[in-house]
C-alpha cells in the first residue's frame, strides 16, 4: 500500500520491475517448502491422517465400542499375504501362495475354516482384526486417532499460548525479563515425566467426577502437557523479540506514540510468527509422544476411550498371537510424529529468508 505513490524515476526500470507480478511472501515460503521432499511427504501424510481419523467414520461406520464376541482375537487381512507355507526359495511354496492367496482374500471366512494349519481367523467384517473383546481394530484406530491428534493439537495450542505470552512479555518489557526467564529455567529443571505421572495419579479422579470420565482425562492430559512444554517456545520468542525491538520500524512506531499493547499485537507478533510456527510443529510431535507414553504407562486414557498409545499398550499382552495389534497403532504414532517433524524441518528452511532462494 505504501508502494503505490513511490514511482521509479525512469519508466523503463519500473517496467522491468513490474514484469514479475506482486507476490505474497507466503507464496515464496510455499515454493521453498515444496523443494524439501521430506516436508512434502510429511504434509501429505499429516493430511492423510487427518482425513483418515475425521472423515473415516463416515465410510467405516462400525462403532468402536461394539463388541462382536465371535470375532474376538481375529487377525488382520494382511495375514493373507503370508499363506502358502514353504520357504522363500521353495517353488512349491510359491505355487501354493499363488493359489491360496487370492482364495484367502476372496472369502477369508471359508479359507480360515478350511485351512486350519495356518491358525488364521480372518473376515472382511474386521479388515484389521478385532481385539480380545471383539471390538473392531480399524474403528478403534480411527477413534483413537481422533483423540491422539486432538490432544496433540490442543496441547500444542496451549503450550504455544503460554510460550508466546511469556516470551513476548520477557522480551518486550525489560523489567519482566529477569523474573520470567528465571521461571523458565526453573520449569526446564523440573523432571517432567515423573511429575506428569504424579499429577495424573493425584488429580485424575477429581477431574473425572467434574468433567465426566472422558472429558476429565482429556482436560487433565492437555493441561499438564501444555503447562510443561512451553519453555522452548518462550526462549525462542524472547530472543526474536529482543532482536526486533532494536529495529527501525519499532522505533518509528514508538515515535508516533504507539501504545505497548498495539505495538506487540501489530508489529511484534506478526514478525515472530515464523518462530512460533516452527515450534508449533515440534509441539504437536512432543504432545503426541508424551500422551502416548502416558497412555502406554497405563496412566493416560482408559481402554474404552482409547488413543493410539492406549491401543498399543492394550496390544502388548497379545504380542505373540496378534502382533499386528501393537504394530498398527505404533506405525500410526511414528508416522504422524515423523511427518510433523519433517514439516517442522521444511518450515524452518522455508521461513528463513537467508536460505529461501530469491
Amino acid at each position: 500500500m505504501t508502494d503505490a505513490p513511490v514511482s521509479a524515476p525512469e519508466p523503463s526500470v519500473s517496467r522491468t520491475i513490474q514484469e514479475r507480478p506482486p507476490r505474497n511472501q507466503w507464496f515464496d515460503v510455499w515454493d521453498q517448502f515444496k523443494t524439501h521432499k521430506g516436508a512434502v511427504f510429511g504434509l501429505g501424510f499429516f493430511i492423510f491422517a487427518l482425513i483418515f481419523v475425521y472423515l473415516g467414520p463416515l465410510i467405516w461406520t462400525v462403532d468402536a465400542q461394539f463388541i462382536d464376541i465371535r470375532a474376538r482375537n481375529s487377525g488382520h487381512m494382511f495375514a493373507c499375504l503370508g499363506v502358502g507355507g514353504g520357504g522363500l526359495f521353495s517353488l512349491e511354496g510359491w505355487g501354493n501362495w499363488l493359489r491360496e492367496m487370492p482364495a484367502c482374500f476372496a472369502d477369508p471366512e471359508t479359507f480360515s475354516r478350511e485351512n486350519p494349519i495356518y491358525g488364521l481367523r480372518l473376515s472382511w467384517a474386521h479388515p484389521l482384526g478385532a481385539d480380545q473383546l471383539g471390538r473392531d481394530m480399524l474403528a478403534r484406530l480411527i477413534f483413537g486417532g481422533q483423540t491422539s491428534i486432538a490432544v496433540g493439537l490442543t496441547a500444542m495450542l496451549l503450550a504455544l499460548f503460554f510460550g508466546t505470552l511469556i516470551g513476548v512479555l520477557a522480551g518486550y518489557f525489560r523489567s519482566l525479563d529477569g523474573p520470567l526467564m528465571r521461571l523458565t529455567d526453573l520449569f526446564l529443571a523440573l523432571p517432567l515425566l515423573p511429575l506428569l505421572l504424579v499429577i495424573i495419579m493425584l488429580f485424575r479422579d477429581q477431574l473425572r467426577s467434574a468433567f465426566g470420565p472422558e472429558g476429565g482425562i482429556f482436560v487433565l492430559i492437555v493441561v499438564v502437557i501444555g503447562i510443561t512444554s512451553w519453555m522452548q517456545t518462550a526462549r525462542v520468542v524472547r530472543g526474536d523479540v529482543l532482536a526486533l525491538k532494536e529495529r527501525e520500524f519499532v522505533l518509528a512506531a514508538r515515535s508516533i506514540g504507539t501504545k505497548p499493547s498495539s505495538m506487540i499485537l501489530r508489529h511484534i507478533l506478526p514478525n515472530v510468527m515464523s518462530a512460533i510456527m516452527v515450534s508449533a510443529t515440534l509441539g504437536i510431535a512432543n504432545a503426541i509422544i508424551t500422551e502416548s507414553a502416558l497412555s502406554f504407562l497405563g496412566l493416560g486414557f482408559p481402554s474404552d476411550f482409547p488413543t493410539w498409545g492406549r491401543i498399543l499398550f492394550d496390544g502388548t499382552d497379545w504380542l505373540t498371537s496378534n502382533p499386528e495389534r501393537v504394530i498398527w497403532p505404533g506405525v500410526f504414532i511414528s508416522l504422524t510424529v515423523l511427518s510433523v517433524n519433517y514439516i517442522g524441518d521444511g518450515l524452518r528452511d522455508a521461513l528463513d529468508p537467508r536460505i529461501r532462494g530469491r
Binding site: P191, V198, L202, L297, G309, L319, P323
Partner: protein, 335 residues
Amino acid sequence: MLTYTIRRLVLAVPTLLFISFIIFLIVKLSPSDPTAGLPLTIPPEVREQIRESLGVNDPVFVQYFKWLKLMVWDEPLHMIERWTGWEVGPDGPRIISYQTRSPVFDLIIQRLPQTMWVVGTSYIVGILIALPLGIISAYKQYSVFDQVGTFISMLGFSVPTFFTGVLFIVIFAVNLGWFPSVYDTTHEVTDWDSFVVQFKQMIMPVMVLGLFNASQISRYMRASMLDNLNQDYVRTARAKGLGESAVVLVHVLRNSMIPVVTVIALNVPAVFGGAIITEQVFKVNGIGQLLIIAIQAGDVPVVQTVSFIFAVLIVLFNLLADILYGVLDPRIRYD
C-alpha cells in the same frame, strides 16, 4: 572459573528448593487423605488424632521443612553410615515407603545398579554410534550416506521407544527367538556362559535406548561439524599441506566436539527419564519401574524421593554442561 563454579553451585540451591517445594506441594495439594485407607469403624475424633500425630494439620511450611530436612540431611547421613560404617546417622524418623515399610533410600539403592547398567551402557553405545555417523554425514554432505544417515536419525528421533522396544520384542524375541524379552535382574555373572546370557538379555534394552540417544546426538554432531568445516582455519590447515585425516579428525573434530560434549552432558537426566519407559517395556526392575509401581500404588514418599532425585540430576548435569563449556572452549570466559 572456580568462582563461577561456586557461584553456580550456590545458585543451584534455590532452584532445587523451588523444585522440591513444587514436588512437595503437588502431593500435598491433592485432596487425598492419609487416613482414607484405615477402617471405617474408627471414630472421627480418633481419626483426627491420627492426623494430628502424622503432622497433617501443621502449617504447610512446617511440614515442608520437616520433609526437606529428612530428604537433604538425615537420609544422606544414613547413606554415609551405610557406605563407610561411621556412626553418623541421626536417630529420628526416616522416609518410609507405604508399600514395603522400609526406608525409601534402601529401595533406591537396590534398584540403582540395574538402571545404571542399562542406561549407562545404552548411552555409551549411543555415543559410539552417533559420533562416526555425524562426522561422516557432515564430511560427505548430501551424499547417499548423508541422506540415509539423516533419514535414520530422523526416524530414530520420531519413533517412540515404547514402539521400538515392542517391535524389537516382536521381531527378535517372538519370531526369531534370539534374545529373551524379559530382563532377568536376579541373573549373576559367574563364568563365560552366564556372561553370554547377561549380554544377550542386555542387547535389546540397550539397543532401543542407544539408538534413540544416537539419533539425537548425531544430529548435533552433524550440524556442529558443518559449522566448522567452512571455517577459515580449515582452509589454512589444508593450505599448509596437512593430510585430510589430520584436518578433519584433529582440527575440525576437536572444535566440533565442544557443543556436542555439552549436549551429551545435558541429555543424561533425560535419558534416565526415558529409561522409565524402556524399563517398563523390558521389565527391568530399575528406578523407573519403582516409580511406576509407586505411582500405581499411591506410595507418596517413594514418588517424592525419586522425583527429587531426578531433579537433582537435571540441575547437576546442567551445571556440569555449563562448566564443561567454559573448560573446553577458551573463547568462553565466565569471569
